[in-house]
Symmetry: C2
Subunit: 250 residues, 2 copies
Amino acid sequence: MSLVLPSTGRRVPCEQCPLRKRAAFRDFSAAELKFVSSFKTGELTAEAGAVILSEGAHSAHLFTLLSGWAFRFKMLDDGRRQILNYLLPGDLVGLQGSVIGEMEHSVEALSPLVLCVFQRDRLDELFRHHSGLGFDVTWLAAREERMLDDHLLSLGRRTALERAAYLLAFLHERAQSVGLGNGTVHIPLTQQHVADTLGLSIVHTNKTLRKLTNKGLIRWMGRSCEVLDALELRRVAGWEGPFERVRPLI
Amino acid sequence: MSLVLPSTGRRVPCEQCPLRKRAAFRDFSAAELKFVSSFKTGELTAEAGAVILSEGAHSAHLFTLLSGWAFRFKMLDDGRRQILNYLLPGDLVGLQGSVIGEMEHSVEALSPLVLCVFQRDRLDELFRHHSGLGFDVTWLAAREERMLDDHLLSLGRRTALERAAYLLAFLHERAQSVGLGNGTVHIPLTQQHVADTLGLSIVHTNKTLRKLTNKGLIRWMGRSCEVLDALELRRVAGWEGPFERVRPLI
DNA sequence: CGTTGGCTTGAAAACCATCAAATAGGGTGG
DNA sequence: CCACCCTATTTGATGGTTTTCAAGCCAACG
C-alpha cells in the first residue's frame, strides 16, 4: 500500500495535455509549452493508498498531478494525523521540498494517480529563462497559502457542522473547476479522512455528516461522498470563499 | 486605531539595512542589493492596532516588515476572528494580494511598525531580471506554507495545553532568529490574541496559560508574554519543528 | 464463511464555551 | 491627588460539545 510504482515513461505530451484544454487553466505560449515539455522527464502512476512523498525526505521530487486525488498530511509522534490539504489535477506536488530542501509533510494517494515528473535541479533554469513560469510557481504557492488560510479559519472558528459543510463545498468547488464528475461530483474519501481534516473524532464526524445527509445536502456512498447541494453547503458553512480562478498549469 | 500613518519617506538605505547584517539572512550580491534598493519606494510607519491591509482590498501594497510585530487574520460574518500567522522583521507582507490580485485576509500591527514599501507593478521586473530574487520570493512563500501546515496540525490535533505551548515556542523561536529581545524575549500579545490564534475561548485560554505559568515556562506581564523555558515548551507541545534557516531578505 | 474495513449508534466522561463577577492597572478629567 | 472608566486578566459555576469506550451492522473479499 505504501509503494510508488515504477514510472511508465512518457505517455501524454504536454502539447496535447487533456488538462491544459480546460478553461480553468491559462493559455501558454509556444515557448513556455516547449520548456515545460522538456522539463518533464516522465510519468509516475500510483495506486490508491500509495505514499508519494514522505515527511523528512531530502531529495523529494517535483510533480504535477495529472489525474486522481491525493492529500498532504502531517503526523504527531503518538499517531495523531492531520490532513493539511487535498491535491487535484493540475496541482504542483512537492514544491516545498524542492524549494526549501526537506519535506515536512507526506503525500498519499486517495485514488489511482498519474503524475508528471519534473527535474528538480532544472527549477533554477525555469526561473532564469522563463520568468513568467517562475511567477506562475509563486502564484501557485500563494494559492496554496490562500487555501490553508481558509482551512485555519475553519479549524479555529467554525463549529463541527460548519467545518464539514465547508470542507465538502470546498472539495466540490475544486473538483468542478477541473471537470471531475459529469454532473454530480464524487469525492473519494472515507469518514476517517474527513475526521483527520476537520480535527474531529471519527465518531463525531459520523454524527455530523449524518446531519448534512438528513438535510439532503450530501449522500455518503461507501468510500466516497456525493455533493447534492453545494450552494447550501456554502451557506451552512458561512463560506463566501472564491470560486477557482484561471490559473497556470506547469 | 485603524489608520495607517502617512509614509515618512526613506530613512534606511538597503545597503545599510540593520536587519540584513543578521546571520539569519543570506548575503546578497551587489546587483541584487541595487535592485532591491530601487524596488523600495519608501517607508511606512504604523502604530500598534493599525490595520495595514484589509480583506477584500484590490490594490494591496507589497511590503517587507523592517521592525515590529504584526499578525494576519480572517473574520467570519458574525465577528469570530482567526489569527493565521504572525509577521516579524524580514517577513514579506501582502504577497498574496500582489500576486493573485485580491487580499483575502487582513493585517494588523501588534506593536509600532516600520515597513519598507515596494512598487508592486515592478514585481514582474524582479522575476525577469533577477531570477534569483524571483526564486527567493517563492522560497518565502514556501516557508509561509510550512508554518501554516504546522499551525493546522496544532489546531486540528493538539490539546489546548499543547497548542499554547507550541504557539509560544514558535513565536519565541522566530523572535530569537531575528534578534528581538536581548536575553529574554517579550512577545507583545494579549490573551485575546492567543485565544484567536489557538481557536479557544478567552476564558479557557487564560486557564491554559496559567498552567504554563505554574510550570514556570512563561510569565505573563500586562500585554506581553515572556518565555522562560523554550525547550520545555517544545517538549510539552511535542513540537520538533525546525529552527529557522538562513533566508533571503527582500 | 470467517475476516476485514468502513459505517453507525448509545452511554459515560472529559474538555471547552458561556455566563457572571471580581480584581488589577493605566489613563483621564476634575 | 483622587475618582472614574476602560481594558485586560482572573476565577467559579454551569451547560453544551466532543471524545472515548463499547458494541453492532454491513458489504467486499479471501
